[in-house]
């Protein structure tokens, strides 16, 4: 008998969208999540709110999780990790380490939703001192702070008077090897800049950038309001180093459009770190034997008009396992892959393979 199960590896925004899509079309779905909870990065990293609407991450992801769990034909395995996969398209066998035990399950199709991880600023070739200075933090650190309803200098707990974001940390850099744009950091940094302005009266906020990449509606949803309504200062020029000075942080760069070098004192420096393939994405690519691109993300072998096909038949990839992705990308590729996996299982059943 043909296998009617779709195995979704990863329970973040893309995996949940894939699972719900396949389940709504009648497939048996099992979502395998390595953490003890669903929701992916937004929940794991304590995001305060989602871009662009500043909606509570917990609330928004809660709805997505509830929707997936509302399908009777969808089950979830938490604390579970795929350690081996055998079999052939239409009839895969997955070995899953679930807590203490290893269970074996079969699936007709597999959807890889293993996501990204934030670039480790310790690898940055500029001298930003993420591990050296308490007041140099990353986007997700500020998210966690905002979620607790505070914006403080970690060094002394005081409210900052001047905050800056440094864009493209770990992205668009040949020295590091990440030549790609991470796609969401401009929007996320601008969103956080607005939140900082709202949280701390009179705070000055700067964004140092190479070029702002605010696609489509993000322009008028985030960029313009940040600049026009919340008076966030956008300065084209990237910071070369952060130095301690008089209990504050001196950032050095060039105000390129004004044509002058610049040294500015900051209380809090936020590094807009990019996306890299998560450990899970790197591991699963090896386990499944699917192609990765030079950066370690899963290769969408058929290009722009087929965003989810991998190099192996019956295996699809979604969301930020494929490369830098925003939430729209995650739900779009997730929903699409759910349908594709379901169609794949049915075509196999008809062929009687």
């Amino acid at each position: 008998m043909a296998n009617t199960t779709v195995a979704v590896i990863g329970g973040g925004p893309a995996g949940l969208a894939a699972g719900a899509s396949a389940a709504s079309l009648g497939s048996e779905v099992v979502i395998i999540e390595k953490l003890p909870f669903l929701g992916g990065r937004p929940i794991e990293e304590n995001y305060a709110s989602l871009t662009p609407y500043l909606r509570s991450a917990e609330e928004a992801m809660g709805e997505v999780i509830d929707h997936a769990l509302s399908f009777e034909n969808l089950t979830v395995m938490l604390d579970s990790k795929v350690i081996a996969v055998t079999g052939d398209p239409g009839d895969f066998v997955l070995e899953v380490q679930s807590g203490e035990e290893v269970v074996s399950l079969t699936a007709g199709s597999i959807i890889v939703a293993t996501g990204f991880q934030h670039f480790d600023p310790g690898r940055e070739t500029q001298m930003y001192g993420y591990y050296e200075f308490d007041d140099v933090i990353a986007l997700q650190d500020l998210e966690a702070m905002l979620k607790e309803g505070r914006v403080q200098r970690p060094s002394n707990g005081e409210e900052p008077k001047r905050v800056c974001f440094v864009q493209c940390v770990g992205s668009r850099d040949r020295q590091i090897g990440n030549e790609y744009c991470s796609k969401v950091c401009c929007g996320v940094a601008s969103k956080e800049a607005i939140e900082v302005r709202l949280a701390v009266p009179g705070v000055e906020v700067f964004i140092f950038y190479i070029d702002m990449r605010m696609y489509g509606y993000w322009e008028s949803q985030i960029y313009w309001p940040a600049q026009e309504k919340h008076h966030v200062q956008y300065v084209k020029g990237i910071i070369s180093e952060v130095l301690p000075k008089d209990g504050r942080l001196l950032v050095r760069g060039e105000d390129t459009t004004m044509g002058r070098p610049m040294e500015v004192l900051m209380d809090l420096v936020v590094l807009s770190v990019g996306m890299e393939p998560s450990m899970g994405t790197r591991e699963i690519a090896g386990i499944l034997g699917i192609e990765q691109n030079k950066y370690g993300f899963i290769e969408a072998v058929k290009g722009p008009l087929d965003t989810v096909a991998t190099s192996r038949e019956g295996i699809f990839a979604v969301g930020s396992a494929l490369g830098p992705a925003d939430l729209e990308d995650c739900s779009s590729t997730g929903g699409y892959a759910g349908a594709r996996a379901t169609a794949f299982i049915r075509s196999h059943a008809k062929a009687g393979i």
Binding site: R162, W224, Q227, E228, Y234, D255, R260, E263, V264
Partner: protein, 239 residues
């Protein structure tokens, strides 16, 4: 007053320029510019795209950039704004080509405000810029017409040819040869009705337009004030 923050850029003193003017005085002047009620409509946010420079006629001939005007204002860079007030803004021709800004900014409008503040405050730059215009200010404020035929000195315009001299000598005759009767004048550009003059005087005085030039050209201001008040008094108009 608009809030003027401390210039975030750590510039060395001599790089700030105009060291003879105190920081407090610069802040006072720039606050006045930013407090102008038109200011928020003239500056939203700047892409720094440079389209305003691309269309700017002055930028083709001078070291002048409407982009830098908008940027300095967006950055609230007090030192630079002051420097622009003393130097750059007088190179703008106020043609407002820069209004094609995709963000709806109006760098020329920011310059209008800066110029008005510079004039009101009697800044040296405004005095210098208006130096050659004393006669025109006098003419336009006292008669409502900007240039009159008798202001044209034949020797000043050699490129107009030898006929200019001849015309100047018989100016009244030549003017009377023009078909519209309202052009049979030599000391005004055209015939200005008495009621119009009175109306103008009331406008100059009521709107503060006359007051505006007090600091920048004391002499002309004094003469005009006397003319206006006397004329209005004759008509029994009280301001």
């Amino acid at each position: 007053m608009a809030q003027v923050t401390f210039d975030p850029y750590l510039k060395l003193e001599h790089l700030a320029g105009h060291a003879d003017v105190t920081r407090a005085e610069k802040e006072r002047l720039i606050s006045k510019v930013m407090a102008d009620r038109r200011f928020p409509d003239y500056l939203y946010g700047c892409y720094e795209c440079g389209i305003c420079v691309a269309v700017c006629p002055s930028a083709r001939f001078y070291d002048f950039s409407p982009r830098r005007i908008a940027q300095a204002a967006a950055r609230v860079d007090v030192d630079l704004m002051f420097q622009q007030m003393e130097e750059d803004i007088w190179e703008c021709s106020q043609c407002f080509s820069c209004l094609r800004c995709p963000r709806g900014n109006n760098p020329g409008g920011i310059i209008t405000i800066m110029r008005e503040v510079a004039v009101e405050e009697g800044r040296r730059s405004a005095k210098t810029a208006l130096e050659g215009y004393s006669r025109i200010i006098y003419k336009i404020m006292s008669t409502g017409t900007q240039v009159s035929p008798d202001m044209l000195q034949p020797d000043a315009f050699p490129d107009w040819g030898p006929e200019v001299k001849d015309v100047s000598e018989n100016l009244s005759l030549w003017r009377r040869a023009l078909p519209p009767e309202t052009h049979h004048t030599t000391s005004t550009g055209w015939d200005v009705a008495e009621s119009t003059i009175l109306e103008l005087y009331v406008i100059w005085l009521e709107t503060g337009a006359l007051e505006m030039i007090k600091e920048v050209d004391t002499g002309i201001h004094m003469i005009l004030e006397e003319i206006m008040e006397e004329r209005l008094e004759e008509e029994g108009i009280e301001i």
